[in-house]
């Protein structure tokens, strides 16, 4: 199942990537060749193999429930483009 140009447009929109007219066919081809590789891999018999969630042979370490961070707002907000009353300001969101 090959991707159409419209699929790539949709994926680009979801990822908020602005692809221009020249890039769209190029990315459509590139993505389709990746899917071609996936198709080849589909031929491998994977029955009885547990899906891989992570390439490392390890499990998640947990941390104790302790507050270890202190208020560093001023330092973090020093690099923010716009702040007011301790809030980060962003272009108005219309839902």
């Amino acid at each position: 199942m090959a991707l159409q140009r419209s699929d790539v447009e949709k994926i680009a929109h979801l990822a908020r990537l602005g692809l221009n007219e020249g890039e769209l066919p190029r990315f459509t081809d590139a993505l389709n060749s990746i899917l071609g590789l996936v198709d080849q891999m589909q031929a491998v018999d994977t029955s009885g193999i547990e899906p891989l969630a992570h390439p490392l042979e390890a499990t998640q370490r947990l941390r104790p429930d302790q507050v270890t961070e202190s208020n560093q707002r001023d330092r973090y907000q020093a690099v923010a483009p716009s702040t007011e009353n301790g809030l980060y300001l962003v272009p108005k969101v219309i839902d």
């Binding site: 992570h54 998640q60 947990l62 429930d65 270890t68 973090y76 301790g86 300001l89 108005k92």
Partner: protein, 481 residues
């Protein structure tokens, strides 16, 4: 056309941890904006999330309490969408392998029957920040204090058939998480929020109708009203020849209606995938055993025990066990006061209406369990009557001290001296000679009511302090002449 309503709920409960699910920031509600947002919460490049073990333990407690299977290996996934209060551009959640699998919860319906509601799953995830849409010169303000707060999202089966059932289920979940101590249940502060999936279908049809999701309803009352108004909207729509469109809606309590937020067709495709920053979480059987061993007594067991141990009715047991705080208060009163039925009555009736009037929860009661228990002792040893006890209770509520000191300072001790009561009755009867004549002339059927009159006069004459049992006995003897 007869319609059947189908409701499924997604309940987000904020877990009562000290720190966030993936960072060491505090989770305190109501702090100054962005003072509890660390580099991890801000989604700065190069940071790594590290899972909070307490969030895992709390999720396991919930799973065990609803008889669910706990995933021995659960995996975090990224849910991708763009919104300014989600700095990373994805929410860390769980998709294919949630921590809590299929379980169930029983709810009591109004007619007293018990209905079992299926819980499909419950998964751990992080909360987003808050967008403040007040105008900051045309901009939106972002507070990320809440970003990264641990949530347990509890997803039900579409098992509910009315708004009332849905509310009963939310209340049962609310009581359960508070019993477990894993969520403070404060709906006004957003600690427990509910998304309601509502659809209708002709009665008898097995396929589900198209559903709408009402987002973020945050009180029991609004859940019921939002669902009912959505049901009516769907019925009107279909009966007028229209079709329900699958979409997300918002409930407006002022207009008592739901309105469209966004249609699912245009909704985000979240492109879940396993989060490479987090390894699979393995729940060891030994850990689960220790969680199970530490589970508190849960509402169903408590209701049963209240009936068998204290001889309470099913109704009383249910009311008293509806919150852990109330159940503990009741048991403390019984421990001191001794009489469980008397304690149940006082906690449910007098204390209940006092708290209602003050608008406070039982843990802020102005009358402590120790004081109420102490007062019940004085009722039981006949120091005061049940009627005088109400005066004592009011005085305790007003902060006048414990029952003994109030009885002493106000001189409320019941009169049990037969000689004194005898004398008081003679005076009272002499003052009501006419009524005495009438009583003696009356037939048995009418005497009951007339006798009540004399008892009333006697209690009035003694300012309520005469022992009612003795008054009855002596008065009867005197009137029979």
């Amino acid at each position: 056309m007869q319609w059947e309503v189908v409701i499924g709920l997604e309940i987000h409960t904020q877990l009562a941890t000290q720190s966030k699910i993936f960072s060491g920031s505090a989770t305190t509600f109501g702090s100054e904006p962005n003072t509890q947002a660390s580099l991890v919460d801000l989604g700065m490049p190069g940071v790594l999330p590290v899972l909070n073990q307490e969030a895992v333990r709390m999720a396991c407690m919930f799973g065990l309490a609803i008889d669910a299977e706990i995933g021995p290996r659960n995996v975090f996934a990224r849910k991708n969408y763009f919104y300014p209060d989600l700095p990373k551009g994805y929410q860390i959640s769980q998709m294919d392998l949630p921590i809590v699998g299929k379980g169930h919860l029983d709810i009591a319906l109004e007619d007293g029957t018990i209905k079992r509601i299926g819980v499909t799953r419950a998964h751990l995830e992080e909360d987003a920040g808050k967008s403040l849409h007040e105008d900051f010169n045309g901009a939106t303000g972002i507070d990320l204090n809440r970003a990264g707060t641990p949530l347990l999202e509890i997803v039900s089966e579409p098992d509910m058939r009315s708004a009332k059932e849905a509310v009963a289920y939310v209340k049962a979940i609310h009581a359960l998480v508070r019993y477990l101590g894993i969520c403070d249940g404060n709906m006004a502060e957003g600690s427990l929020r509910c998304d309601c999936n509502v659809s209708i279908r002709p009665k008898g049809q097995t396929e589900f109708g198209t559903r709408c999701e009402i987002k973020n309803v945050n009180s029991f009352r609004f859940i019921e009203r939002a669902i009912n108004s959505e049901i009516q909207r769907q019925i009107d729509l279909i009966e007028d020849g229209g079709k329900v469109v699958q979409e997300t809606r918002l409930y407006d309590p002022n207009k008592d209606e739901t309105r469209s937020m966004r249609s699912k067709e245009e909704a985000n495709d979240y492109r879940y995938f396993p989060d490479p920053d987090l390894l699979p979480v393995v729940i060891e059987p030994g850990f689960l055993d220790s969680v199970r061993a530490a589970l508190p007594e849960l509402p169903p067991q408590k209701v049963e025990r209240f009936q068998s141990q204290y001889g309470l009715s099913a109704y009383d047991a249910n009311v008293l066990a509806s919150s852990r705080e109330q159940a503990d208060y009741f048991e403390q009163v019984v421990k001191i006061g001794g009489d469980a039925k008397l304690a149940a009555n006082w906690v449910m009736v007098e204390l209940g209406s006092l708290l209602n009037k003050l608008g406070v929860e039982i843990d802020q009661s102005p009358v402590s369990a120790e004081y109420l228990g102490g007062m019940l002792l004085r009722i039981r040893d006949n120091t005061i009557s049940g009627k005088i006890a109400k005066t004592v209770f009011e005085a305790m509520a007003a902060g006048e001290g414990d029952a003994d000191s109030i009885i002493e300072s106000r001189g409320l001790k019941q009169v049990t001296d037969t000689g004194a009561i005898d004398k008081m009755l003679d005076e009272m009867l002499a003052a009501n000679a006419e009524q005495v004549e009438q009583y003696r002339a009356a037939d048995e059927a009418k005497r009951g009511k007339m006798f009540g009159f004399f008892v009333g006069q006697a209690m009035k004459a003694s300012k309520g302090k005469a022992n009612p049992g003795q008054v009855n006995q002596l008065l009867k003897a005197k009137l029979e002449g």
